[in-house]
């Protein structure tokens, strides 16, 4: 059809329509206007992740971020949510390993309210005692549900094997015994030591002009100053496995087992990232979950889901294959997956497979950027990994430049089928 009206590359975010400004206290503001819908998204991150958690109080950063909106010096928990929900707005915080983040949205007319509540929650949380205890019960229930979830438990076990002795081996939400040990004073201290404007970025996307968005962020967060905001200590090296390590976690009474098999992966900023992500698409994403889906699901009928994923952040990542299978088929599925990994590092990918995945990456980009939320995460991605404001305009060229040899070299650099982490959780 010849109904192509918009120049697709111009509809992607780029230097002329992204506004970036660093406030005097260090907060980076990114905005992009979109007046097609009367709504607006506010997203961001700040440097207060679970890396700061002491082992015996693991889950502290998660507890703090979950408690930020439980009451501030100016408003009670109920008042905060009453103001938000009365206008159909939403705001929430979540913790990560290096950084923690927030996500909010509202009708454009309610952006000032959203930013005021964001600012109060970040700068002046009160951690009311009764609310902290209510939250603790909710967090502990979440952990009790996690213990029963075969997929969560397989992932947890996988991280323990792959990142043994490294902070990445620890779950951000902690364990029941560590969450029990966290006192209100710990929350107050963590907030005082680790929250601050340095290292923070905020993206505002939607029905608001750039200068107005920046003015509103300045009003809400521009005056925030923290003198002794602590830095993250340098992380130890991730030690590679010397041989394949398999572990199983039993959860009685379940109908299905989940398995995670994999190894280390690149950082987001590493040169190999693009070839790794293209390779991963061929291995366990493209079409109906790539080669892994083809072998485990389509040809063998062993699983409803079987796919690979790459998790690449600020530090070394992981490259994993996940599947949910009948408990009797765990070995069969594991063998098929390991065989595919062997084939992947021995033979690499075909020219056709690579061309398909490149076209897929380039074609799907506008889809991932159609909502305000999609654009906000793209802007934060640019900022966090220093990709450049023209990254999404250059994206097609970056994808096209990767070769089959790059994919093979990257696969061989990271995946050694004789040194895998294998985790299973099920009955």
């Amino acid at each position: 059809m010849t109904n192509f009206k918009l120049d697709s590359s111009r509809s992607l975010p780029g230097p002329e329509d992204i506004h970036r400004e660093v406030l005097s206290n260090g907060i980076t503001v990114l905005t992009r206007s979109n007046f097609n819908s009367p709504s607006v998204v506010v997203s961001g991150y700040f440097s207060a992740g679970s890396l700061f958690d002491p082992d015996e109080k693991l889950g502290l950063a998660d507890f703090v971020t979950s408690a930020l909106m439980r009451g501030t010096e100016k408003r009670s928990f109920d008042k905060i949510y009453n103001e938000l929900e009365s206008v159909g707005a939403g705001l929430g915080f979540s913790s990560g390993v290096h950084k923690s983040g927030f996500n909010g949205r509202s009708l454009a007319e309610d952006l000032p309210l959203l930013l005021t509540l964001l600012s109060e929650s970040l700068i002046q949380p009160a951690f009311p005692k009764a609310e902290v205890e209510k939250l603790r019960a909710q967090l502990l229930t979440g952990l009790a549900i996690r213990v029963q979830d075969t997929s969560d438990m397989a992932s947890l076990l996988f991280d323990e094997i792959l990142f043994k002795g490294h902070p990445y081996s620890r779950p951000e939400d902690g364990y029941p015994e560590t969450v029990q040990k966290i006192r209100r004073e710990d929350l107050v201290r963590f907030h005082r030591d680790h929250f601050g404007p340095r290292g923070m970025a905020i993206a505002i996307v939607g029905a608001v002009k750039a200068e107005e968005a920046v003015r509103q962020v300045k009003r809400a967060l521009g005056g925030w100053q923290v003198k002794d905001q602590k830095e993250v200590h340098e992380l130890p090296e991730v030690k590679l496995l010397k041989k394949t390590v398999s572990k199983a976690h039993r959860i009685a009474g379940k109908s299905q087992s989940d398995l995670v098999i994999g190894t280390n992966g690149p950082r987001r900023r590493d040169a190999e990232f693009m070839s790794a992500t293209l390779g991963n698409n061929i291995l366990g994403q493209f079409g109906m979950m790539g080669r892994i889906g083809d072998v485990v699901r389509e040809r063998s009928g062993l699983a409803y889901y079987a796919y690979s994923s790459l998790s690449a952040g600020l530090g070394p990542g992981s490259w994993e294959v996940s599947a949910g299978v009948n408990p009797q088929n765990v070995k069969k599925a594991t063998d098929l997956i390991v065989d595919e990994l062997k084939r992947f590092v021995q033979e690499g990918v075909t020219t056709d497979e690579l061309a398909d995945s490149k076209a897929n990456f380039i074609g799907r980009l506008p889809l991932s950027l159609e909502s305000n939320g999609g654009v906000a995460s793209a802007l934060l991605n640019i900022e966090r990994h220093n990709l450049g404001l023209d990254y999404y305009r250059r994206y097609a060229d970056l994808v096209s430049a990767a070769t089959g040899e790059d994919v093979l070299n990257t696969a061989r650099k990271f995946i050694d089928p004789t040194r895998l982490a294998m985790a299973v959780a099920g009955p």
Partner: protein, 425 residues
């Protein structure tokens, strides 16, 4: 919300909706069939969902491995859903690549092969899908409640089907179900995005009009008799967490009371989000959150209203606080239900519910896929006008309406109360 759209029925009965949106170079194409788990008899439960899976297994023109690659290669996003009342397929593509999706859908409306080997391999995939669901306490509880709430009406079983039927259904059962329901006069096509309506319509006619219309399939609709007394049931399983789900009878989506009940849902439990491609909002100042979670009887409380052709259920789900008993949470819920029946709600609460709905609609309209979704979705249980006038109908709800529907629908004798009893880790 009231952007203009074009609506036309082709000579073979296929209903087509087209809505131009030129905000991004994207088109979302949806094809809806009036068939779902409510069209299944015992022995063949789960057949509609299995047929949906088989629609990805290829035709002579688009063999299985070609089919998924052709969409993915162009950067498309595609999927399918089976529900009680309908089955839907969508592709969201870069605008200049939409033709492949149209060709694929017109082809698999009639030419899917249902190869016996593919049926055999998909049988174990679907069994695995069901086993994954069985790992979840809320699936087990929900299934038990649904079976108990509907003895006569075919809403009684889960969309995935009963395990025994997944083991015994045959290739011919599946193929016959496909041929019966996959006819143009039993389908609705909806496209939203960056196209010219006349050009698009011409192409749709070219591809779909040669497909002959079939006999209009009869739909199963055995009316559920009035429930005469509260049903209580329990499901036991692993874990340490108790759940309680309370289900009241809810009217069909085009019933006038649906809108008053939607406002009531919003103020009781936070607004149910009907968008498929846009998240909801929190419910921490809803009446049930305040009475149950704030008071530490539950750690979460949610309401769920669904738009259906026949009367279905309104569910309230509570995750019980670890230090409390299910009956304590239920008693607190009953007090709130009693309150909304006995006392008038305030006008402000209604205004608030309407603003929440307006915001949810605005979030949903950011996304072309979601806009394509609505045109066909609304047709499946009412019509597109239902969606276009939704906010106006909410705005017309009065304080009196709320109290009336609370008394009419929240009737203890017509509810099912289910408890998940955890047996330990």
């Amino acid at each position: 919300m009231k952007n203009s759209h074009t609506q036309i029925t082709l000579s073979n009965g296929l209903k087509v909706f087209l809505k131009e949106i030129h905000t991004a170079p994207i088109i979302s194409s949806w094809l809806w069939y009036r068939v779902g788990s409510r069209d299944e008899v015992q022995g063949r439960t789960g057949i509609s969902h299995w047929v949906e899976h088989m629609q990805f297994k290829g035709t002579p023109q688009f063999p299985a491995n070609i089919l998924d690659k052709s969409i993915s290669r162009e950067g498309g996003s595609w999927n399918a859903f089976t529900y009680m009342d309908w089955t839907a397929y969508f592709e969201t593509m870069p605008a200049d690549k939409i033709d492949i999706a149209l060709r694929l859908e017109s082809d698999r409306m009639v030419n899917s092969q249902f190869d016996a080997n593919e049926v055999a391999s998909e049988r174990t995939v679907i069994i695995s899908e069901r086993e994954g669901s069985e790992n979840e306490p809320m699936f087990l509880l929900g299934e038990a409640i649904q079976q108990s709430a509907f003895r006569i009406h075919p809403y009684h079983h889960e969309v995935i089907g009963d395990m025994v039927d997944l083991h015994t259904m045959t290739r011919d059962d599946l193929y016959s179900h496909y041929r019966t329901f996959y006819v143009p006069n039993n389908a609705v096509m909806a496209l939203a995005g960056d196209f010219d309506t006349q050009t698009m319509l011409a192409r749709i006619k070219e591809l779909f009009e040669p497909i002959p219309g079939g006999t209009e399939p009869a739909r199963l609709a055995r009316e559920e008799p009035m429930q005469k007394g509260e049903v209580r049931l329990s499901v036991e399983g692993p874990g340490a967490t108790s759940y309680v789900q309370v289900c009241y009878r809810f009217p069909f989506a085009s019933h006038p009371d649906f809108f008053s009940l939607s406002v009531l849902d919003s103020l009781l439990a936070g607004p149910s989000n009907l968008n498929m491609f846009s998240g909801g909002i929190s419910n921490k100042t809803s009446r049930l959150y305040r009475a149950l979670v704030d008071k530490e009887l539950a750690v979460s409380a949610h309401g769920g209203a669904q738009a259906t052709i026949d009367p279905f259920l309104y569910s309230i789900t509570m995750t019980v606080h670890p230090k409390r008993k299910p009956e304590e949470a239920l008693a607190a819920l009953d007090k709130e239900i009693q309150r909304v029946k006995a006392e008038k709600v305030s006008k402000e609460e209604i205004t608030r519910a309407i603003k929440q709905a307006r915001a949810l609609f605005a979030y949903g309209s950011e996304n072309i896929t979601n806009q394509g979704f609505w045109m066909g979705y609304a047709e499946m249980f009412a019509n597109y006008e239902w969606f276009q006038t939704y906010l106006d109908k909410l705005a017309a709800v009065t304080v009196k309406d709320i109290q009336r529907v609370a008394n009419e629908y929240f009737v203890p004798q017509r509810r099912v109360v289910g408890t998940y009893i955890p047996l330990g880790n």
